[in-house]
Amino acid sequence: MIVIIDYQAGNLTSVVRSLKALGVEGTVTQDPAVVAQATRVIFPGVGAAGKAMATLRELGLDQALRRSLARGIPILGICLGAQVILARSEENDTACLGLLPGRTLTLPRTEGLKIPHMGWNRVRFLSEHRVFKGLPEGAEYYFVHSYYPAPAQTAMVLGVTDHGIEFPSAIGWRNLVATQFHPEKSGRFGLQILENFLVWDGSDAE
């Protein structure tokens, strides 16, 4: 069972829809008991870190995510879901899940560049990760964010993107992988990433 975690952080219809395009039914849930049954977890979300963490704790989904990580099942974080997996966020100065060591930082304001970073941008992949296989040179992905994930170890940075600074846009470790961009809104290359995730056994992220 592929579980999509619903913690009232934005609209999940596009994630559900893109799985459907791959012929897969995702189970949207707020229930930790359902997450415990999952063979795969997608952890999306948009919005603010403070409110997101409060809701995750209230629903018991923080523990459910930690147990999923410990069980070794493949986990995919998207956007806010790639940020709150770190230990802390500068947004609302929030203590986060700590599935990976590191912090979520504010995108610095640069002359002539807009924040939020909204639109299509490239990702320079730094490792041969199975979730990011089969993507052509020059492919772009859809971003909407004002903060970015900064894992504590460089080996956890799987891809980087330029918007004034070069920031980690794909991160991961062991059975966890996460993208700051939205694969579910990134056309067929985004769909390729989701398809790769659905067949990934979670073993070779290192």
């Binding site: 219809t13 919005g47 560049l113 807009k114 020059g138």
Partner: protein, 259 residues
């Protein structure tokens, strides 16, 4: 580097795509769902739908269009026109749109922007601005005035002030339409676009006046726009999105070329 977005705009009336000049003389140009699919495959970076359905009891037709479009394309799209309250926003977002665009309703009730941003996130809330050039005055010092009802009703509100106010209220993006340029195909309003884009920290989509690829180059370079809305120039087959993007790329504008 962030690409500049090329965004086809579809005006939808009673479930059909239509196109008019300055909101008049509308002709039927096709099924919005089929057109969305074609533009998605042709390299559109995003789509905008404006519901210009005359009567509010036919709103459900638009929601059905949104739902069917969402099932066809895997890029973001926004829906505007007739969005009056949080329920209208929720309806289009749950049907599968990424963003909602508010225009007249936000001028009449600015708190709607804040309420929408709090309920759905700033990234969902696009401020649509219909703007007309006027002689600078005490109420419109920038020389640009907000108008509603397709340009027929001047509001006595300065466009530059309103753009900055909307950012403060929580808008995540601005779709800036020049009523003077709209439908002319003679080029975007560059002075207006640059003025607004430089004054706000959020992305600005330029709208109104696109007739040739050089117009997009002008508005994305000199006009400092983050994205450009196009309609007639692609709806009637004079240009393709690929052709426009190749033209821009050759002139150093970052655009998405692989899709």
């Amino acid at each position: 580097m962030l690409s500049k977005r090329i965004i086809p705009c579809l005006d939808v009336r009673d479930g059909r795509t239509t196109k008019g000049i300055k909101f008049r003389n509308n002709v039927d140009i096709g099924d919005p769902v089929a057109m969305a699919r074609l533009y998605y495959e042709a390299g559109a970076d995003e789509l905008v739908f404006y519901d210009i359905t005359a009567s509010s009891d036919r709103r459900n037709i638009m929601i059905d269009v949104v739902r069917r479009v969402a099932a066809e394309i895997l890029i973001p799209f926004s829906v505007g026109g007739g969005i009056r309250n949080l329920n209208d926003m929720r309806d289009v977002l749950l049907a599968g749109a990424e963003k909602v665009s508010v225009n007249s309703a936000a001028i009449l009730d600015p708190a709607l922007i804040t309420a929408g941003a709090q309920a759905f996130g700033s990234q969902c809330i696009v401020l649509g601005m219909d703007v007309k050039g006027v002689p600078p005055s005490l109420t419109t010092p920038s020389g640009y005035e907000m108008v509603i009802h397709g340009g027929r009703t001047p509001m006595g509100i300065d466009a530059l002030w309103w753009a900055q106010e909307a950012v403060r209220l929580g808008a995540g993006e601005i779709c800036l339409n020049s009523i003077d340029a709209d439908g002319t195909q003679a080029g975007y309003e560059l002075t207006l676009t640059r003025m607004i884009s430089e004054a706000v920290p959020i992305p600005v989509i330029a709208s109104g006046g696109a007739g040739a690829p050089e117009h997009l180059h002008q508005v994305l370079a000199q006009g400092r726009a983050d994205a450009a809305l196009i309609a007639s120039m692609v709806h009637f087959g004079a240009y393709t999105i690929k052709g426009i993007k190749d033209y821009l790329a050759q002139r150093g504008i970052p655009v998405r070329l692989v899709w």
